[in-house]
Amino acid sequence: MYFLKKRRVVREFEQHPRLKEFRFSFGKIVKNPLSVTGLSLIFIFFMIAVFAPVISPPKYEHEPFRIPHEGYSIIPNPPGPGHPFGTTTKQYDIFYGVIWGARTAFRIGFMVVGSILIIGIAVGSVSGYFGGIVDEILMRVVDIFMSLPLFILAMAIVTALGRSLDNIMRSLIIVGWPIYARTIRSSILTIREEDFIKAAKALGAGTFKIIFKHILPNAIYPALILASLDIGAMVLTAAALSFLGLGAQEGYADWGQMVSLARNYIVGPQGQPFLFWYVVTIPGLFILFFVLGWNLLGDALRDIFDPKLRRK
C-alpha cells in the first residue's frame, strides 16, 4: 500500500504544471544553439573564477585580488615564460589579472543584479498589488529615476561616494532597480485579475500568501529574463566606469581597470604598430566574451519565454 501511495505522489509531482513548464523550457534552452553557446561561455568563466587559486596561485595570500608585479618598468613585456599573456605597464602580470578578474566580474554581476532584483520585486509587488496612492507615488519615483540616463547618474553617484569598486556597485544598484519595479508591477497587474487569484481570495488566503505563493511565481519570469541580460550590461557599465578611473585602485584584478592601464600603449613605435597588442586586446576580449555569454543566454531566454512565440 505504502509503495503504491509513494508512486502516486511521485507521479503527481511529475505532473505538477510548474514542473512540466520548467521541463518544456529546459528542453528548449538545451536545443537552442544560441543559449547553449551562452551557457558554455558562462560555464567556462565560472570554472575560471572557481579555480582561480589553482590556475594562478596568489602571491599575496591575504590580498588575492592584488596583481603581482616584478619591478616598476612602465614598458609592457610581451608574452613569455612565467607570463603567458605578458605584463602590462608597471609589470603587472596580465594572466593573473584576467583570471582573478573573472571573480570580480561575477561578484559585480551577481551582487548588483541580485540586489536590484530584490528591491525591484519588493517595490513592484507592493505597487502592483495595493495600487492606489502607494502605486502612484512609487511609480512617479520610478519615472524620475528612469528619466535620467543610467550611466551618467551612476557616474555622478560614484563621484559623490568616492571612487572604488564597491561604490560603483552601490551606484549601479541605486540606478538599476526602477526598471525591475516597473516590470514586476506590470506583470502583477495582469495576473491580479486572473481567476485563480480570485479563487485563492475566496478560499481565505492572506495577502502575503497570495503575493508570494500565487502571484510572484507567475509574475517573475520577465524580471528574471531582464536580470540575465542585465548581468552582462552591468558588468559592462562597471567596466566602463572603471575605465574612466572611478573604480578600483591600480593593480586590482578588474578587467576594466586593466584596459584603462593599457591606454598609453595602444600604438607601438614606428614600424611596429602592434608591438603592445596584448596589453589592450586580452583584458578586452575577456570582457567581451563574458558579456556575450550572458547576452546570448538572456536573448534566447527572452524568445523561449515569450508567450507569443512559445508554443509555435
Partner: protein, 344 residues
C-alpha cells in the same frame, strides 16, 4: 481640442518629473561635505582662507530644505558654479563644449537609426535565413562590445597600423590653427559645417577624418537596440491582415514591404528614439574620452575623476532635461502620427 489637452497634460507631467530630477541631484549633492560644496564657488586659491564665510553666504550649513531653496534659486538664475577641471564657469564651459558633441551626434544618430531600421527589416523579411542569423549575431556582438575597448582597438588599427589614417582628437594642428585664425569665420563652431560655409574643403576633409572612428564606435555599439525593435515590430506587421490584403490584391513583395509593412513597423522605433538619445549621451562620454575629442562627454568624464562637483551635477541635470524633452517631442509626434494614441 483633444490633442491640445493631451499636450498640456504631458507638459504638466514634465514639470513634475523635472522637479523630481532636481531632487535626485540635490540628494547626490548632500553626500558631499559643506567644504567640498563650497569649492563650487571658489575661483581663486586665495579664497580658500575664508571658506567658512562662503559656507555662510550660500547657506551650506543650513537645514536641507533651505539649502534646496538656495540651490534651486542659483540654478534657475543660470549660476551652476565654477568648473575646476576647465577653469571656466559651468555655463561657459557648456557653451564651449556643446558644438563638438553636437557634431558627433549629428553624424551618428541618423546612421544608427537608418542603418538600424534597414538591417532590422532585412532581418525580419528573411526570418530564420542566413541573413537573419548573421545580422542578429552582429547585433548581439555590438551589444556586448565594451565601447572603450572597441574604440581603442580601432585606434590601434587605423591610427597605428595605417599610420595616422583616422587620427584621434578633433582637428589636425594645421587645420586647428587655421580654424582659430581670423581668416576663418566660425558660424556654428561645428567644424564640418563651418568648413563648408567657408568653402575650405581641406578643413572639411580633415574634420571628417577625425570623425570617422568615433562615429563608427558609437554606431556599432548603439545600433543593436534599433535593429532588435525594428525586427520584432516588422515581424508583427508582416503577420497583420493589411499585409495579407495587400498581397491578395497582387502587390509586389517590394511594395508590400516598403509601403505596407515597414511604415507601420516604424512606430515602435519612434517610441524608443528618446531612450536612444539618452544611451547616445552615455556612449558619448566614453567615446570622447578615448578619442580625446574635447566635447561635453570628455569634460564630464574628467570632472567625475577630479571631483569637479558643479560640472557633474550639470551633466545629470542636462541629461535629465534632454531626455524628458526628447520624450515629450517623441510622444507628441507619436500622437500626431497615430490617432489611436490621441483618442485613446
Amino acid at each position: 481640442m483633444n490633442f491640445l489637452n493631451y499636450i498640456i497634460r504631458r507638459i504638466l507631467l514634465l514639470v513634475v518629473v523635472l522637479i523630481g530630477v532636481t531632487l535626485i541631484i540635490f540628494a547626490i549633492l548632500t553626500l558631499f561635505s559643506p567644504e567640498q560644496r563650497a569649492s563650487a564657488f571658489i575661483r581663486d586659491i586665495k579664497q580658500l582662507s575664508d571658506i567658512n564665510s562662503i559656507i555662510k553666504t550660500y547657506g551650506l550649513d543650513r537645514p536641507v530644505y533651505v539649502q534646496y531653496y538656495y540651490w534651486i534659486r542659483q540654478v534657475l538664475s543660470g549660476n551652476f558654479g565654477w568648473s575646476t577641471t576647465v577653469s571656466r564657469t559651468v555655463m561657459d564651459a557648456f557653451k564651449f563644449f556643446l558644438p563638438n558633441t553636437v557634431e558627433l551626434a549629428l553624424y551618428s544618430a541618423p546612421l544608427i537609426i537608418l542603418v538600424g531600421i534597414w538591417l532590422g527589416s532585412i532581418s525580419a523579411v528573411h526570418r530564420d535565413k542566413p541573413v537573419d542569423h548573421f545580422t542578429r549575431f552582429l547585433a548581439i556582438i555590438g551589444w556586448s562590445l565594451p565601447t572603450f575597448w572597441f574604440g581603442l582597438v580601432l585606434l590601434m588599427v587605423f591610427y597605428g597600423y595605417f599610420r595616422g589614417l583616422f587620427p584621434p582628437e578633433i582637428l589636425g594642428y594645421k587645420a586647428q590653427a587655421y580654424v582659430n585664425s581670423a581668416d576663418f569665420v566660425q558660424y556654428t563652431r561645428i567644424n564640418t559645417i563651418d568648413a563648408l560655409l567657408n568653402g575650405k574643403l581641406w578643413i572639411f576633409v580633415d574634420a571628417v577624418r577625425h570623425l570617422v572612428l568615433p562615429v563608427i564606435t558609437l554606431t556599432v555599439v548603439q545600433i543593436a537596440l534599433v535593429m532588435r525593435i525594428m525586427r520584432s515590430s516588422m515581424l508583427e506587421a508582416m503577420g497583420k491582415g493589411y499585409v495579407l490584403t495587400a498581397r491578395a490584391k497582387g502587390a509586389s513583395q517590394k511594395v508590400v514591404i516598403k509601403k505596407h509593412a515597414r511604415r507601420n513597423a516604424l512606430l515602435p522605433v519612434v517610441t524608443v528614439s528618446g531612450w536612444l538619445f539618452a544611451q547616445l549621451m552615455a556612449g558619448v562620454v566614453i567615446t570622447e574620452t578615448i578619442f580625446n575629442r574635447k566635447g561635453l562627454g570628455w569634460w564630464w568624464a574628467h570632472a567625475a575623476t577630479q571631483l569637479d562637483i558643479p560640472a557633474v551635477l550639470m551633466a545629470v541635470l542636462f541629461n535629465g532635461v534632454l531626455f524628458v524633452v526628447t520624450n515629450l517631442v517623441v510622444d507628441i509626434l507619436y500622437a500626431y502620427i497615430d490617432p489611436r494614441v490621441r483618442l485613446g
